[in-house]
Symmetry: D2
Subunit: 281 residues, 4 copies
């Protein structure tokens, strides 16, 4: 498998940015395989992916050279550089529901990731973790011990050098302390078509409102519950004859597929966040 570099760029919009970036890559014989740009609020965003096979710069040189030759001629530039053969480390948080966990583990190979640990406030899914050979940490949370348990979570994430966290139907609200350590690096799946039906029991809310379509939403976690930048959504048609139980059953397939797409986009560095939105290139 040949390796590629991915560069995410945000800067003040001005004439000729694409020319500068692509000329830089051409100069060092970087063959571009993907290029996407977006302009919003007079800001410029770009994702460019190129082959490292014949690229004339060493990996550790790229950022410095790019800053010297390109970024310094732009304004308010922010860049992130990734390599496709680096396997990011993903922690999974779960509670009792198994469908998202199973789905993630079953497609583990497709993601090019490592899963060093699973953390849960319940023990019920431990056998699944074991079957897949992944360390499972049971950290039961009560009102009283929440701060302490989150501290343990943080230590585990640090110890295992976790790059990002997936809340696979984890039924606890994270505290600000934990969220701020992983800005745009905690992915949640909410079982409704946000912003409709935030908070608890969205399928009950959907049933009572009589909607004809249900949905699921994957988003980055911020300190505002269910209001972080949306990464991916999908929906399914339902009817009045579907009971709440039936909505929950059908919704599980939505949840796992939507969450898996969000993880895929995150891992493949397709996402730039801006304000409270994502640009998914």
């Amino acid at each position: 498998m040949s390796a590629f570099a991915i560069l995410l760029i945000s800067c003040q919009d001005q004439l000729g940015i694409a020319a500068k970036v692509t000329s830089f890559l051409a100069k060092y014989e970087g063959n571009i395989v993907d290029i996407d740009q977006h302009v919003e609020d007079n800001k410029y965003f770009m994702r460019v992916k190129w082959s490292l096979t014949e690229f004339g710069l060493q990996r550790h040189e790229i950022k410095e050279k790019f800053e010297l030759e390109v970024a310094k001629t732009l304004s308010k530039t922010e860049i992130h550089l990734y390599f496709t053969d680096a396997k990011p480390k993903m922690a999974i948080f779960v509670s009792k529901a198994s469908h998202c966990l199973f789905d993630i583990l079953a497609r583990q190979d497709a993601y090019q990731i490592e899963i060093p640990l699973i953390i849960s406030n319940h023990q019920v899914l431990e056998p699944i973790a074991k079957a897949f050979g992944i360390p499972f940490f049971y950290l039961p949370i009560t009102k009283e011990n929440k701060a302490e348990m989150e501290q343990k979570q943080l230590e585990l994430l640090k110890k295992h050098q976790v790059d990002f966290v997936v809340l696979a139907r984890y039924m606890q609200i994270l505290s600000e302390a934990l969220i701020c350590k992983f800005p745009n690096k905690i992915i949640n799946i909410h079982h409704s078509f946000l912003p409709a039906f935030p908070g608890a029991k969205p399928y009950h809310q959907a049933f009572n409102r009589g909607v004809k379509i249900i949905g699921a939403t994957s988003h980055y976690v911020t300190t505002k519950l269910d209001e972080g930048p949306i990464i991916e959504q999908d929906v399914a048609r339902v009817s009045h004859s579907d009971s709440i139980k039936e909505l929950i059953r059908q919704g599980k397939d939505l949840e796992k597929i939507v969450l898996s797409r969000a993880i895929y986009n995150h891992v493949n560095r397709k996402i730039i966040t801006y304000k409270n939105k994502t640009f998914v290139f």
Copy 2:
């Protein structure tokens, strides 16, 4: 074209309702072409459609006979009887946007309806009404004259014996007085996936929230803005690269299709409303 009868039944749930209804129809040689039931909150709802071709009762006899032979053995029964060759009279309210109006008029024949009039608070769509040969009434509304104009609207609806009203992107909020005269008989199209983004400028709201899917919702109008029983919804996938203008453009197709399906279901007597929901059989 052969004619059919449609009976919508709501009653207290109990054993044997389907047997009673179908036996009644079998007794008079009514060939059932559609039968659907739904139970919610211990209440029973049924829609049954049968051929009138060989049916042994005259149209005017059906209701009385049914009440005598079936309904009186049930509890809290409410029935509505319709005939498929009766063309209901539909009024259309519009403002400036033409896409829903065009779509309705273009498929007029498919609906088996009559459109005796179009009412608008703007003059811009009058040429379309003329092209289709439908009387157009221009009733400009200001804060000051709103009550008076609604009175004129009511008179027009009464004079033309209107059965139900379609708000085809009519940009005025109806007053309670008008709504109460047409309970579950005023169909609105809202340009969002309700309950997300009620009220004004839903595409702007959707853009700012960064949703990945936009929607449209058709519902019966109640006195609570955008909160009436939902009849039909549909959605379309969008991306960050779609501007608000682009969302509006794409949304128009959703709006007209969703509204047309709602009208179709209403005209074909497929809908029973209960609480704030619809059962669409």
Copy 3:
């Protein structure tokens, strides 16, 4: 969990069938929870589901009584009676692809089924079977031993009293001998939107044709390859930028969801087959 009975009826269309069936159930105090009918080619098809809780007949009496009191007054009647607390036995056939197998096993509880065995012509998925505690039989197939291996398959299915078979991306064509033993009881998943792209390498075919939407189709296996009655289909939007590899990746989610819905409908006795079609009630 209360138990229900499900009756699937096919007969010559005539007046009053619904009345006869529902009156029979009412007579013995069977509370109907689902009733659906369909008429095609002057033939009548019905699915009715009722509660056994207060039902006045013993399970073993139902069929005889129904035949005596209802079926004999109809013409060309064929009935199937099921009870929702009977767990049908499902065999899974796999080759190398794991996504459908994982998905089925992960939702095993939701199906109300037993999975007595997994049969494969490759060994690669045996660890998954073991992790879920299900007997795995490795029967490698060559041109020479195909008849012999199918004989072994049949013996295993018989020995484990298998009710129906799911081909979860099993990459061998079944012989007529095996298919005829399980009419409308072998469910396959084909990785295209049939009848487009039957046979081998459908994603390659789709890529070369330049379609904008890919699909998956679950159907009952007949002796005509990929031409059996379709149970369920679903689709996903793709673009020219999706490589064949990418179509395969995205298609896996379609395949597993479509197959799971087909199994769900089969297990819940929602399907009547007629000619080469299914009616999914």
Copy 4:
């Protein structure tokens, strides 16, 4: 409204194409608003759109300068240059079905096109053409006069300087002579999910096959019936209870929406065709 230029480029793939194109535009102060590329079979395809507002070249200079400064350094280059304020002239061919025609005419303004004429082999839609003030030419076609009528069609298209043709459910097969005059410039709507159900009566075919989803496909017309490059497709879920008549009714909405999207993409110069496929940027 400010004007933009759109350049479609096809050439042999090589290093640095994007850099050359974007540097050319930057040199003359062309602000890029859209840039997309695709590589297939070692061939490179690009669509780039930039603002003409401050662009340093006159419109008539662009092509020559681009060829001199960029294209000649590439291999096997083919370019097409368009300006967004040029209104292409579109002819519509119809037969008896009105839904696509109505839909196109109703959204005429949104397209930035001119419709100089409508040609039909039936008279029934002439009133619609008149209502919209568009010249209507009735050219009835028989086996005997087909060559002669197509000659008249060609003369009309030439006389009205037509840029491209839309077959809005035109029920005649065009002859090779006409097709070859408008390569990738005749857009057809076929009422199935191609390649499933090509040819006549696709809804009948779909009904008989028992598919669970119907579709519509818009494609460029080639001399192979229903086999030209696909531009756009969409689908709708159906069930066994939908009669052929009902499939036709529901399909009409698919057809008109899919055709309108294809026209939109064509008019906005989003399409490059290669082999028998389209890249829709």
